[in-house]
Amino acid sequence: MESSTQTTIEIPEAMESVFAKVEQRFGEKLLGTSFFRGELSITVAPADWVEVAAYCRDEPSLAFERLDSLLGNHYPARKDRPFEVVAHLTSVSRTARLRLKTQLAEGEKAPTLTGVWASAGWDERETWEMYGIVFEGHSDLRRLLTTEDFEGFPLRKDFPLRGTVGGRIRTDLKGKI
Amino acid sequence: MTDFIFLLIKGVLWVAVGVGMVPFLIYFERKWAGFFQSRVGPTYAGPWGSLQSFGDMAKLLSKEDVVPERADKAVFKLAPYILFVPGFLVMALIPFGPLNVDIFGHKVDLVIANFDAGAIMFMALGSIAVYGIVFAGWASNNHWSLLGGLRCGANMVSYEIAMGLALVGIFLMADSVNFSQIVDGQAGNFWNWYFIPQIVAFVIFFISSIAELNRDPFNVAEAEQELVAGHMTEYSGMRWGLFMFGEYVNMVVMSAVIATLFFGGWRAPFTALDFIPGFIWLIGKVLFFIFLYMWIRWTLPRYRYNQLMDIGWKIFLPLAIANLAVTAVIVSVVQR
C-alpha cells in the first residue's frame, strides 16, 4: 500500500494545460514545479510573485478567480531561504486548483497579493504575525489573531508550544487604556 | 371633606390596581412568551411561578446601582421617573364607572379627575414620557444609548401626529374631548362603540400605540440586536427596573385609553350585562389589549428605523387626515 502511494503521481489533464500555460508565459522564472496527489505546485521568486498571481487570475484560460488561502511556512533546516509563502488559487468556473509558492530568506520582504485578491489581507496579516514575514505594500499590517502586546512569531519552529511569552495581563497599562 | 376622602380612596385604589397589575403582567408576558415558544416560562417562584416578578424585583433592588462616571448624573437619575409618572397621571383621567353614582348617600364620580380636556391631556402627557427615554439616552454618555434616544424621539414625533389626528374623529363623534363624555357617547350595546365607525382611526391608533410603547415590531429604541439595550444600556439594578416598570404601566394606561376611546370604556358589550360593575369590564378590556400587545411582540420581527418613519409619515398621517375629513363630513351631515 505504502509503496504504491509513494510513487503515484497522476497528472490530470486539466493540470497539464494549466502548467503548460504558465510555463509558456514565464518559462525560466518558474523555479520549481511538483505534482503530488493531483495537485500542481509552482515555485516562483518573490520578485515574480505578484506577476504570476495576476497572470493566473487574468488569463481567461486559467481564470483563477479566487485565492483560497495564503499561508506561511518555516523550514529551519533550509539555511538560506527558511521561509515559504504558499498561495492556493482556485478557479470556480473551471473547478481547478493551483498552488503557488515562494521562498524567502530571514528578513526578506514578500510583495503583497492584496492588489490581486482582497482576501489576501487577513491571510497576510496572519502570516506576518505568525512568521514575521513582512508583506511589502500591505496597507494594514497589524496583529490579527494574537494580542497587541504579543512578542515573537508563534508559528516559527523555534517558538515553543508552551510558555509565558506574550498575551499576559499588562499591569503597567492599567488606567491608560 | 367626604369628596376628598373619596378622591383619596379612588386614587389609592386605582393606582394600586395599576401598579399591582405590573408584576403579574410581566409574569403573564413571560408565560405567554413561553407558550408561543413551546417552553414553560417561569415555574419555580410561587404557584405556577406567579411570584417570579417579585423575586426579580428583590434581585433588582439588591443589585449595585451603577451610575457611569461621565454620565450627566442628575438627568441620568431623573430619566426613569419621567417615563412612568405621566403614565400614572393619565390613569387619573380614565373613567371606570359612570358619573354621579350614589355610594352611601354621596354623589361620587367614578373617575379620579373628570377633566374636560382629558384626551388632550393624555396626548400631552404621552409626549412627556418620551423625554424620559431621550434624557436617558443623552445622559448615559454612551453611543448606543444616544442612538436609542434619538430613534425614540424621531419615532414619537412621527407617530404622535397620526395618533392625535386619529383621535379627532372620535372627538367629533362624541362632540367632546372629555373621557367620560366619550364613554357616554358609546352608550348601548357593543355596536354603538366607536371602533365600528372609526375602524380606520382604531387601526392607526393601535399600531401607533405600539410604536409609542416601544414594543415589537416597533421597539427601535431599545432594539436589542442593534443597540444592545438602547437607552437602557447603562442602567442597572432598580433604575433599569423602573424603566421596565414604566413601560408596563404605560402599557396598562394605553390599553385603558384604547378601551375608553374605542371600546366603550367601562360599559358592558350588552346593556343586559350592566349588572356587572364597569370596573371589571374595563379591566377585562385592558387585559385583552395587553394580550394583543404581547401576542404581536412575540410573533413579528422588527421594522428598521427608517421604515418605521415611512409608515408613520407616508401611510398613517394621510390615512388619519382622510379619516378625519370623512368623519367630519358625515358627522356634520348626520347632526344637522
Partner: protein, 431 residues
C-alpha cells in the same frame, strides 16, 4: 427516491416564482452608491465611532466591528477577530494526525462533524487511504445532518437578528432532534469527533437508521412551517430584500463561499464540483439564487435544508453493508474491540498511539463544502507522524474579512442582518 418525490419536496419553488423580479443594481451602481455615502461623510460631517462587539448581543461570538456612523449609516468599518484564538495550527504540529481530530471539533462548533470530515478527507488524500463505501455513506449522512443543524440554528439566530425572538426557540426545538441523532451516533451532541482517518469512529447504532429516517421525513414539514412564518412575512421582506448586495466579483475577491456565493447565482458547490464521501453517488440539486441579498441567502439555505433531507434519505436507502473503517494498518487506528484480542491489532494500536501513522512526504490541499462555506485544509508533511504545517482555510475567517465591504453604505439596523447572513462562527474564524 424518485424524481417526482424530489419535486414535491420543493415547496420553495412556488415562493420563488411568486417573487417579482426586482431591478438589481449593477456592480457599478453599487460601488457608486457606496462611494457617494463615503463622500458625503468625508467632508465636514462628524461621525461617531461605536464598537460593535466583542460583547454585543448580535455579534455571533466575540467578533468586533468598529463602526463609524453618520447618523445611522455606516461609513467605515474595521473588523477585528482573534479573541478566540487558540493556536490550533501550532497545536497540530505537536500532535499526530489521529490526535488532531478532536481539536477540529472546536473550529466550527456548530457543525463540528463537517470540520472532522474536512480534516480527515485531507489526511486521507495525503496518505492515500481508501475509505470503504459504507463509511463514505455514513459520512455523507452525518455531514448533511450537520448542515441541517447548522442551518436551523443559523435560521433561528438570523431571524432573531431581525427582532423575532420566538423563532429562535422554535428553531432550537427542531435542532434538538438532530442533536439527539448525533448523540446516538457518537455520544456527543456538539463536539462529535466522529470521523476517523479511513472511516468513522463507530458503525451506526441499532435503530438509528429508522430514527434518522423519521427525522428527515418530519423536518421538511417543519421547514414548511418556517416558510409560512417567515418567507412571505412583510416585515422580513422589507428588512432583507435588496439589503447587503454583493457582486460576484466582490465575492470572489473576498473569497466568500458557500450559500453566500450560491445566492449570487454561482452554482459552486464542492459536493458537486469536487465530490468527496458519497456525494457523487447521490442525486441532489445545488441551491442557487440570483439577487445576492440577505433574502436570497436565506432562500438558498432553506433550499439546502430540503436538499439535505433528500440526500440523507437517498443515503439511507442505498446504505451499503461492509466495513466502516478502512483496513489499512499503516494509516488507520484499529478497532478498540480488537486491540485486546488480536496481536496484530494491538501492535497497530501501539504504533499509532506512540509513534503515529506512516505518512508520505508531500503537501495536499483539500476543501470540503462545510455548512458555512468551503473549508480547506492544507497539510505539509515531512514524512513524520505529525504534520510539518497544517493550515485551515475556514469560511468564517474570510466572511468576517468581507464584512467591512458588505457593511459600508448600509444602515446600522441592517448591519446585524447582513452580518447574520454571512453566517460567522468565531471558533471557526479565530482558530
Amino acid at each position: 427516491m424518485s424524481a417526482s418525490d424530489r419535486d414535491t419536496a420543493h415547496p420553495m419553488q412556488d415562493h420563488v416564482h411568486m417573487r417579482k423580479p426586482k431591478p438589481r443594481p449593477t456592480p457599478e451602481e453599487l460601488r457608486a452608491r457606496k462611494e457617494a455615502t463615503r463622500q458625503r461623510v468625508s467632508g465636514s460631517v462628524e461621525t461617531i465611532t461605536v464598537s460593535m462587539g466583542p460583547q454585543h448581543p448580535s455579534m455571533h461570538g466575540v467578533f468586533q466591528a468598529v463602526l463609524d456612523l453618520d447618523g445611522e449609516v455606516i461609513v467605515n468599518t474595521d473588523a477585528r477577530i482573534g479573541n478566540l484564538h487558540r493556536g490550533v495550527e501550532k497545536l497540530a504540529e505537536y500532535r499526530t494526525y489521529h490526535q488532531f481530530i478532536p481539536v477540529t471539533d472546536r473550529l466550527d462548533y456548530i457543525s463540528s462533524f463537517a470540520m472532522n470530515h474536512g480534516y480527515c478527507e485531507a489526511v486521507e488524500k495525503l496518505m492515500g487511504v481508501h475509505v470503504p463505501r459504507r463509511a463514505r455513506y455514513i459520512r455523507t449522512i452525518a455531514h448533511e445532518l450537520c448542515r441541517l443543524s447548522n442551518h436551523i440554528l443559523w435560521l433561528g439566530v438570523h431571524i432573531m437578528d431581525f427582532g423575532a425572538q420566538t423563532f429562535f426557540l422554535i428553531c432550537f426545538r427542531d435542532r434538538e432532534y438532530i442533536l439527539d441523532l448525533f448523540e446516538m451516533l457518537c455520544g456527543a451532541r456538539l463536539t462529535h469527533s466522529y470521523a476517523r482517518i479511513g472511516g468513522v469512529a463507530k458503525d451506526l447504532p441499532e435503530g438509528w437508521e429508522h430514527k434518522c429516517r423519521e427525522v428527515v421525513d418530519f423536518l421538511p414539514k417543519r421547514l414548511d412551517e418556517y416558510q409560512r412564518l417567515i418567507t412571505q412575512n412583510r416585515i422580513f421582506l422589507k428588512r432583507s430584500v435588496g439589503i447587503g448586495i454583493f457582486t460576484v466579483e466582490d465575492l470572489h475577491t473576498w473569497r466568500v463561499t458557500g450559500p453566500c456565493l450560491r445566492a449570487a447565482g454561482v452554482p459552486r458547490d464542492l459536493r458537486k464540483d469536487e465530490p468527496y464521501a458519497a456525494y457523487d453517488e447521490v442525486e441532489f440539486e445545488v441551491a442557487v439564487e440570483y439577487n445576492s441579498d440577505v433574502y436570497d441567502r436565506f432562500l438558498v439555505r432553506m433550499k439546502e435544508m430540503y436538499e439535505s433531507c433528500n440526500i440523507i434519505r437517498q443515503c439511507l436507502d442505498n446504505l451499503p453493508d461492509g466495513e466502516f473503517l478502512a483496513e489499512d494498518a499503516a494509516h488507520v487506528l484499529p478497532l478498540k474491540k480488537n486491540v485486546m484480542r488480536d496481536a496484530a491489532a494491538m501492535v497497530q494500536d501501539f504504533v499509532h498511539v506512540f509513534r503515529g501513522p506512516q505518512v508520505p512526504k508531500g503537501e495536499v490541499y483539500r476543501a470540503v463544502e462545510a455548512p458555512k462555506g468551503e473549508f480547506g485544509v492544507y497539510i505539509s508533511s515531512d514524512g513524520g507522524p505529525k504534520p510539518q504545517r497544517l493550515h485551515l482555510a475556514t469560511p468564517s475567517f474570510f466572511h468576517g474579512q468581507a464584512v467591512p465591504a458588505l457593511f459600508e453604505g448600509e444602515m446600522l439596523a441592517d448591519s446585524v442582518g447582513i452580518f447574520g447572513s454571512a453566517d460567522i462562527v468565531l471558533g471557526d474564524s479565530d482558530r
